[in-house]
Symmetry: C2
Subunit: 317 residues, 2 copies
Amino acid sequence: MALSLQDLGEQGLLKLLKPFCSDRVGDDGAVMGSLPMGYELVVTTDILIDGVHFSPQTTSPEDAGWRAAAANLSDLAAMGASPWGVTLALGLPRDTELDWILGVYRGFTACLKKYGTELVGGDTVRSPIKTIAVTAFGQVPSDQIIYRHTAQVGDLIVITGEHGLSKAGLEILLHPDLAQDLSIPAIAKLHLAHQRPTPRLDALPLPYRVSGMDSSDGLGDAIAQICDASGVSAKLDLGKTVIAEEIQSVANRAGVQAIDWVMYGGEDFELVLCLEPNHAHQFLNKLPKSRVIGEIIPKNPDRNFNMARTFQHFCPN
Amino acid sequence: MALSLQDLGEQGLLKLLKPFCSDRVGDDGAVMGSLPMGYELVVTTDILIDGVHFSPQTTSPEDAGWRAAAANLSDLAAMGASPWGVTLALGLPRDTELDWILGVYRGFTACLKKYGTELVGGDTVRSPIKTIAVTAFGQVPSDQIIYRHTAQVGDLIVITGEHGLSKAGLEILLHPDLAQDLSIPAIAKLHLAHQRPTPRLDALPLPYRVSGMDSSDGLGDAIAQICDASGVSAKLDLGKTVIAEEIQSVANRAGVQAIDWVMYGGEDFELVLCLEPNHAHQFLNKLPKSRVIGEIIPKNPDRNFNMARTFQHFCPN
């Protein structure tokens, strides 16, 4: 029989988890050291619930851990900040299998390690439902903070990568028959997009005026939020190639509009950035899969953005 | 009928909670500014679950919020750190009454305000069980960090206040008949100790070598942890007055040893500090209710500490 939490007790669990933690763990709090001159602290937090944000059907414990870490590192990237440390608090039913707990820690710390940071604090408590609470903090040079409210008319809107992949990945995990027209590599690409998202820390540093956020709640939501905060509107020209082939195939089988997944699927964890045209072009050269999808225009009181040419005008609200 | 979460939706909830949050909230992360020269960042996190860490029987939503904040501020105090900011993530069942949510935020932010800090980030998600996840971060001068591993033989062991009050408070909340010998002020004192604990930030700064932690997991546990980490043992001489009159009365009625509540009741959120004798006496003058309860002695391989004179020798492990 698989070992579960109740076989181990709190002290046993702490011993088991210690190897995943930074040496900073062991006192009432973790001492992180000083901030470099001219840098500021950025903090972000998320809480994820079994059956709401992850499920055994679509996410292994390793994936659940990875995604929890990646979502918070993405929030740091969206602020222009490099990760400095992350905390992880778990609520666990008594009968939670140790393999699940270790899997979450493995996936979580694998993601942290990939992005050069570490687990510096935590808490594990009894709960009727598996719960993952994460707080990440990072460092950003004072003059490179990325806010939502600083977009200006004439800025180009740049995305760092494809959208809709995570949603399509989730759909084929839930309904494998939707993937029947896809090649094995295409299926793997969609699965990975959902299970192992990539925080776009590689887009940093951005040493010029930039407004933006991540697309964790959907590309459409990100553009609407930036427009709201900046008092502007956006004109989008996505072009046909914004819909990846794999997404089109799955959406066709599912009988839905692929563009809805691209715009509103969410959890792609790309960055949506507004940059002066010359900076935008510098950025495109730096990050190969990034692309321009529109521009910032004066505020249109009726709608946050409209999509030209390829798609019908519409208002996301 | 009372309004609940499902009447409001996520956007409505965010609007409702905005007044509780710092102006820093609104982007993917909160920008906290720089650390003063010579200061370091300290981070601590906790997760609390309905029915495990709080319950309607003993803690109002305001109390649950206050205690969640106080526990984390106490961890900062235990590291010698002043609070800089706190995040709050809630998991909420759909039928959670708005009054409960607002109560938690009121209690939480009241505690933060009292100690000069603020709510800088959060997350609210759907969950089958009410869940409160808190992360606090603070600032400490590099030469005033309080660790557990730096106690030295000859140090006096100082506590900042009474122990066992929170446990006695919990017991009379659960079993009101245990309070029948107590005056109204005594009952109020015990209730408050449990429902509105006080992080001992007033003990700071401690500008001399000091080892210590808070007594959130019990006075006995704190002493054992410090001894373990420092490779020393402790000789305790608690004296008869360490048991507050109110605790003795409740313990008598409950038919238990009051000293067990003092040593192992937990959640008193006092500080347990090891100081050179001259510094200990300076500290006692500064903080009126603090007292010496023993001293650090060379490591006794058989036990972490023993209690002299008033109580039997015993080993907490």
